[in-house]
Amino acid sequence: MLLRHTTSEVKERKALTVNPAKTCQPVGAMYAALGVHGCLPHSHGSQGCCSYHRSALTRHYKEPVMAATSSFTEGSSVFGGQANLLQAIDNIFTIYDPDIIAVHSTCLSETIGDDLGQIVKKALDDGKIPEGKFVVQASTPSYVGSHVTGYANMLEAFVKYFSYNTNEKIRQVNMLSGWVEPSDMRELKRIAGLMKIKTVLLPDTSDVVDTPMDGTYKMYPKGGTTREEIVSMGNSMKTVAMGEWATQKAAIMLDNKCKVPFSMTDVPIGLRATDRFIQALSTAGKVSIPECISEERGKLVDVITDMHQYLYGKRVALWGDPDTILPLIEFLVDMDMKPVYVVSGTPGKKFSKLAMDILEEKVPEAKVRNGASADMFLMHQWIKEEPVDLLIGNTYGKYIARDEGIPFVRSGFPIIDRIGHSYFPTVGYMGGIRLLESILGAIMDKIDATAPEESFELVM
């Protein structure tokens, strides 16, 4: 047994986290910053933070992930990291020549009280930021929230720093994307294109962490939201923000600073979340919904109805981030599956309420936990108490899947043992079909592997 010490006996814990269902803020800030064109993320802390975050993102994308670090030593930890950051800014512009440096803090620099805004201002005053180059900063203490919070803080920093309302309204809609894959961001743009709406997507990691192999290395790939685009977001008609945890801060900032109103919607995973997204986009862009979108929707519903028998009543355990889990459980419930165990390490009182709103009618037995000690160990204990038919979550679930013999669909961050997430979206109606393909594949593989020979099915 890989997790041989996990038993069904749940003991309440108030201090110990085991097998977390979250990680810390800075990695989210780093990922968000990669979605801005010509931007080099910078980690203001010890070298290890930067190294760990780059490694985690690299394993997930199998792509170059570049970021710099302030390389704190004991001295900087005592006397403050200002000198390190000033030197870093100078070195980065000289050696690596990005258009933008996106600085995020760490638990170390936050604990000693480094004021990033003040240091960046000093860099500017000292002439360390060349003409036409920019340094954006976000406070991302690792001991608050989760990786999703860091993503949200970095997004907010970008619009706070760049977006500007020049009183010339442009026929454009802002799309603030929750933490999803480059494939999903590409799909969001495709859907907006089908609806003939001019949009700015922030962030946009497509063509950044899914670049082609052509024999050359480009430190700043062609993708990413450009600075000009972020500036123009201040003049857009409306913002469609997808995922409260990851995008609400930036949406509010755009509203407050540039008077661009927003509509808060879910990450469009599954049928009804996509419905709401399409409606929000159509309202925001003042366009009607084209037939081709309705056709894509119809295809998804078609697959669901075709394969309903394999989905009905299946008990599912999920873990991951609120913004993606909530629409996902709604999708599962819509298909008559039973998301009985739901865990997210990301805090936020709202999560359990929103989840139970979705679940209480059809899956009243569901157990939902988030925040402190809502971890994969607890979820595994629940599974030991009463098993499930399917696991949906990041790669760490493979240990539970193997020990318990449960079909497993990879979703979320990180996925470090399979490919596909960079290229095949799970958002939108077509993404819903891909999700279904994965879910059905996992369930049916188990049926095929375990069915008695006499009832082994050719056609399913």
Partner: protein
Amino acid sequence: MPNKKDYTNGLPDPSQLKEEMLAKYPRKVAKKRAKAMVINDPAESQEIGANIRTVPGIITQRGCTYAGCKGVVLGPTRDIINLVHGPIGCSFYAWLTRRNQTKPTEGEPNFMTYAFSTDMQDENIVFGGEAKLKDAIREAFDIFKPKSIGIFSTCPVGLIGDDVHAVAREMKEELGINIFGFSCEGYRGVSQSAGHHIANNGIFKHVVGNDDRPRTGKFQVNLLGEYNIGGDAFEIERIFEEVGVTLISTYSGNSTVESFAYSHTADLNMVMCHRSINYIAEMMEEKYGIPWFKVNFIGAESTAKSLRKMADYFGDKELSAKVEEVIAREMLKVKAVADAVKPKVEGKLAMMFVGGSRAHHYQDLFTELGVRVVSAGYEFAHRDDYEGREVIPNIKIDADTRNIEDLVVEKDEEKYRNDLAEKKAKLQAEGYEFEDYKGMMPDMQKNSLVIDDVNHWETEKLIEFYKPDVFCAGIKEKYVVQKYGVPLKQLHSYDYGGPYAAFEGAINFYKEMERMLGTDIWKLVDTPWKHEPEIVGSVTVDA
């Protein structure tokens, strides 16, 4: 990629490359980096700048002290709960990401598949985290019933003044199991290296010598600095078992705290990764009189040499005969594969920037295949790992090194092995070498470029200049290098392959190089129309 340079008459002088690399840097940075680059001349004793702070803003391979302590040294030990005291990330990132394999017997504890954290929140940062740490220890004990718990401090812990050692003492008393703390905050050193030292100190202080287990074998050894990535330790264990040498403990691949506790009952310490573990070897010798020497089980020839050295140490005819028998048999298999692979890869160029010993050890495997190493360097090693241990007395102790405690170890009069000390003296008189490590540079060719703590910019220039056939580094470098059309072999994780240690490992590595260096897939990178005349579009059907 342009055509390869012809290096058959020796490596080219890379002086110009060095100048170009440095030219990009601000003056102060250039001055610092210049010291970290040496155009090698094995006939000369040259000094390299190593174990020096990375300049802020430089995209480095290096990690932190915590990574070296928790991740590297204690990570591969299965019967201890490694509790990370800090915000969640540090524990999350060190969760199973280093591929240390372990093989517990049924019913034996194995906590390596778990990540434990106190998940510090802002109130713990403001009001202190000791109470939460104590509760977490109690909960861990209550749920998992471990025999030992290690506490690993992350950056904020030292800053807010949590005393993990005091908590460890108190909890040890309360729970009656072995509990000890490590002050391995990420900022403590200039790299992972500081964490290795802190881990060595902690294990030595709190574990080694706790169990005076009676002898279980005629020849008892410890293997230090072997972390069982991809099953390396399993392959070495297989050979030891066959020749009749009892492996008391390995630091720390496939290891247990239980085995560390009686590791002082060994007759010999063999050091693989000098950088990460030489401290324990030295401390064990001072306290218990156990001699140590450097070995290398990466490369078939090196493995044979190391096994012979071990047999010579024991001076037992039967053992030597068995060792020779195993070497002869295994080398036959190794040679068969080498003979098949070598003609396909001979003369190709490799470079490696990794670790604190791997960038040296793996040169042996490449040499066995006739692959030329044109440039190499470590990520976190010290001068002695480049230049040899004789430079240790001359290494300037800077503020960063002074931060790390150097344990004062005294001879244990009761347990000190005078017999071993005498044996060592006798062998030494015969020219047998102990405490020996000559470093990487003497083994490298003239004009090879040695670079410590190589960074992204220098990596780009190296590829441009040498056009290597294979680049060895880690996960962060892998896809950068490959975008250039140069295959990268990870020497931390082995790209999820291995083992590469000892004889079977050499065979695996040869085959891996046959795959990586022989494949035609890189020729698919260019589009077929790249070198064709442009296909001109037309608006009419006929034209």
